[in-house]
Amino acid sequence: MKLVCEIKISGVDTLVALTTAPGIDLGAFVKVKPGIGKPFYVWTSIPQPNPTSCDFSNAPIVSSDTAVNNAAIAAISVAPEDVLTW
């Protein structure tokens, strides 16, 4: 799975398309990265790696509730090409 979000790397907010390890609970993991209150997208794959920007204006926001996050992930209908630029 690809988790697209902003995370701090060496103190700098950086847009990343993370490849997640098989079997992890994404609803729980997004509470860690990017963190509660932050926008994110999850897709099975994205057309190209390493997007340079992402329009998060309609993205789900990480909740403190893992089940709510998993429901939000399942409800993502926007295509990567519609919000990511490379």
Binding site: L3, I9, L18, T19, A21, P22, V32, P49
Partner: protein, 180 residues
Amino acid sequence: MTLYLETPGGFVPWSGEAINDVRHPLTVEWVWSDDELAAIGLYLPAPADDVPPGKMAVATSVERVGGVVKFVNTLVNAPPPPLPSTPVIYAVGNFAVSDMDISGIDTAVNFSAAVWMDVGVYLVLFSEAQANTRYLAKAYSGTSQALVVEKGEDYLIINASNASGPYDPAEFSLEVIRVQ
């Protein structure tokens, strides 16, 4: 050595006090026999028994044991020796690299995600943030060289290179060791 005076309350160190209203010089310790000293209640205690394994002496007193005046240790169980620190493998993972992407992760334990950041530069995230960065992280990548160049509480940054410079190997592996 200190002589001990036998009193109704037990043996006490003697420093020249009068005995039966008679003052004796401290030199009696060297010039009187044991029997002469005992006759006025003075004793040079015999050594205490050895402290047995697993015990420790917390106090020493002078007592008459089987007719012999000797030092006697008060023993308690010694605390168990501290356990040696043990290094444990906390996290492992194999990461496939292709087309400027982390294309797969397998055998991942306590690693949650990774991202290709540049040629030969990868960010790998722990499943849970570590309490500190006092851990040993090792990277392997077959024929190329892979190094952990930055350790965070929740991430590692790995650089891979070959003789020509930064390089994307087909895969790299990580191992994180902590001491418990």
